[in-house]
């Protein structure tokens, strides 16, 4: 079949190949290589100055730390939500399912100002947290909340199909062999969902690393305290420090490429592995 298509009778191969490659190069490949060249083609001292000075180091720690916490929260609740949506029928299930997509569709600036309004000290949530001594907006906690908001759909939408694909026979077998429902959930179902959960976790984490719009309103943007890496790029650009911005940008780009490569490699491995087993 593939051989047949190679000598296809269908017209348009040259045209679509030429157009696809030129458009891809102009819009994606050349701009990305500009970043790679501008970021990498500077003396090491200058590069490390931009990437590892104390203020940038604090931003890296904050960015990775908040992204990690937000993705862990999402992994926990995302798993429960995906399970609930697939396995249980209850009034409002479809609305709950539709709401999961809101962070995909809502512009990040809108979620940013809305979350800030809710969690600042007079807000719907902030006024309850304030007496407890918890400062949500303009603190790292606020960043975690924003990143949890934007990351949730990535985990739910990755785990949902995996719950759907679970073989009921396996659960029945576990139960017939005398396992309690809790043991089955923990020892049989959770391991089966693990690849999807990890893939969703890494995708949400990668997305959180680069998030900008929803974070900058709620974070307060104090240098050394609540300043994320993306914001540093913007700051450096405003100071016309293109090389510094490119250095930070390149490091961020490489980290997200590595993470997404891991997801793809993991999926490739698990499909191959599963095929061999069955």
């Amino acid at each position: 079949m593939s051989r047949l298509r190679q000598h296809s009778v269908i017209p348009g191969f040259g045209l679509t190949l030429g157009y696809t490659l030129s458009y891809l190069s102009l819009i994606v490949l050349i701009p990305l290589s500009a970043l790679a060249v501008k970021g990498a083609a500077q003396p090491w001292a200058q590069f490390s100055e931009a990437v590892f000075d104390p203020r940038t180091l604090a931003a890296w720690r904050l960015t990775f730390g908040t992204a990690l916490i937000a993705s862990l929260i999402n992994a926990f609740f995302g798993l429960i939500i995906a399970w609930t949506l697939v396995r249980y029928d209850f009034p409002g299930r479809r609305i709950l399912d539709a709401l999961i997509d809101v962070p995909f569709a809502l512009p990040t600036a809108v979620s940013g100002i809305a979350l800030t309004a809710i969690y600042s000290q007079n807000g719907w949530m902030g006024r309850w947290l304030q007496p407890l001594g918890i400062k949500a907006a303009f603190s790292p906690l606020g960043i975690v909340i924003a990143l949890t908001f934007i990351g949730l759909p990535f985990i739910v939408r990755t785990v949902q199909p995996a719950v759907d694909d679970l073989d009921p026979a396996v659960e029945e077998a576990a139960s017939l062999l005398g396992a309690s429902r809790l043991t089955t959930l923990w020892k049989v179902i959770l391991p089966a969902l693990q690849p999807a959960l990890i893939a969703g976790f890494i995708t949400a984490f990668a997305r959180a690393l680069g998030e900008y719009g929803s974070v900058i309103f709620i974070s307060g943007n104090m240098p050394m305290k609540t300043e994320i890496a993306s914001l540093l790029i913007v700051t450096k650009l405003e100071q016309f420090d293109y090389a510094g911005a490119a250095a930070i940008g390149l490091l961020m780009l490489v980290s997200s490429f590595v993470l997404l490569f891991l997801v793809n490699a993991g999926q490739w491995w698990s499909t191959r592995h599963l095929r061999r087993v069955s």
Binding site: R3, R5, Q6, S8, V9, I10, P11, G12, F13, T16, L17, Y23, L24, I27, V28, I30, P31, L32, A34, L35, K38, I80, I81, W83, T84, L85, R87, Y88, G92, L96, D101, V102, A105, L106, P107, T108, A109, V110, I113, A114, A117, I118, F149, P168, S175, R181, L185, G210, Y212, G213, F217, I233, L237, Y242, A245, A246, G249, M252, L253, F257
Partner: protein, 286 residues
């Protein structure tokens, strides 16, 4: 039978209720609350203030730029999506999988970096900065930059919907059309397009939401020139930073409305596409 139903919903009732309760509470607090707050904050100073905020000349010029940007972006990415999916689905050639991954690349690039790359190319100190300023052409801090950055962030959306569908449909119908003497345009118009139209609309709807809502990439290239290079999300930011909260939320409510319409359209299209797949399967069986 009793066993199957017990195993289908095998958890004890308390656990079931706990899971449902936790899901509803988490999504309600995290996602529903912000959506509601956009609208209550927008109308806090009354309906006439709301109308004045969204009909302000600067808001209208931001709306205009957002609409123009979305239109150009969608047209450009639609043509690309059709070309790329035709190429990948109808022909087999070395490097096809690499091409597929390259098309997905912009999904892995964060918004600020999507804007940064164009500043590095076309900005004052960028690769083509001198050449452009010698000819009096401005890309960054002008409309072309906004459009380019938006094309970049929405690049894979339409192609991504079309490629798997067209791969699944194969090339047999088109091959039959060739044998019957149809030319390339006729094949596309009469055979391929009817088969992919709903997926096409689906991709356009998703790309549109992203194009109109993008903040990070556009914020880097636009320069925030009021009345000229401000899109709706950037206008929201400016109003918010001026402590003009109610006006910021009024404009934001337009974007939130767009998001809700997008979600409804998405659900309707998914239903439609599934229904069509079912009929296709039934026709195959018959």
């Amino acid at each position: 039978m009793a066993i199957t139903s017990r195993h289908r919903h095998g958890e004890p009732v308390w656990m079931r209720n706990l899971f449902i309760g936790a899901s509803v509470a988490f999504v309600g607090l995290l996602i529903l609350l912000p959506v509601i707050s956009v609208f209550t904050e927008a109308f806090r100073k009354g309906f006439s203030f709301y109308l004045r905020s969204i009909s302000d000349p600067l808001a209208l010029s931001a709306l205009r730029l957002t609409l123009i940007t979305a239109a150009v972006t969608l047209a450009a990415n639609l043509v690309f999506g059709l070309a790329a999916s035709w190429l990948i689905a109808k022909f087999s050639f070395p490097g096809r999988n690499v091409l597929l991954s390259l098309i997905d690349l912009p999904f892995a690039v964060s918004p600020v970096i999507s804007g940064l790359v164009f500043v590095l190319l076309f900005g004052a100190q960028g690769w083509f900065g001198d050449a452009l300023s010698n000819h009096g052409i401005q890309i960054v801090f002008a409309m072309p930059g906004v459009i380019l950055a938006t094309i970049f962030v929405t690049f894979p959306f339409i192609a991504r919907e079309l490629i798997p569908l067209m791969q699944e449909q194969g090339a047999e119908e088109e091959e039959a059309a060739v044998l019957l003497g149809a030319n390339g345009w006729q094949i596309f118009r009469r055979v391929t397009l009817p088969n992919i139209r709903w997926a096409l609309v689906y991709g356009v709807v998703l790309a549109n939401a992203r194009a109109m809502g993008d903040f990070g990439a556009v914020s880097v290239v636009s320069g925030h020139i009021r009345g000229r290079t401000n899109t709706l999300p950037l206008h929201v930011e400016i109003l918010y930073n001026e402590y003009n909260f109610s006006a910021a939320f009024a404009v934001a409510s337009l974007l939130a409305l767009l998001a809700l319409v997008t979600l409804v359209a998405k659900a309707a299209l998914e239903w439609r596409i599934r229904a069509e797949e079912r009929t296709a399967v039934m026709e195959d069986v018959a």
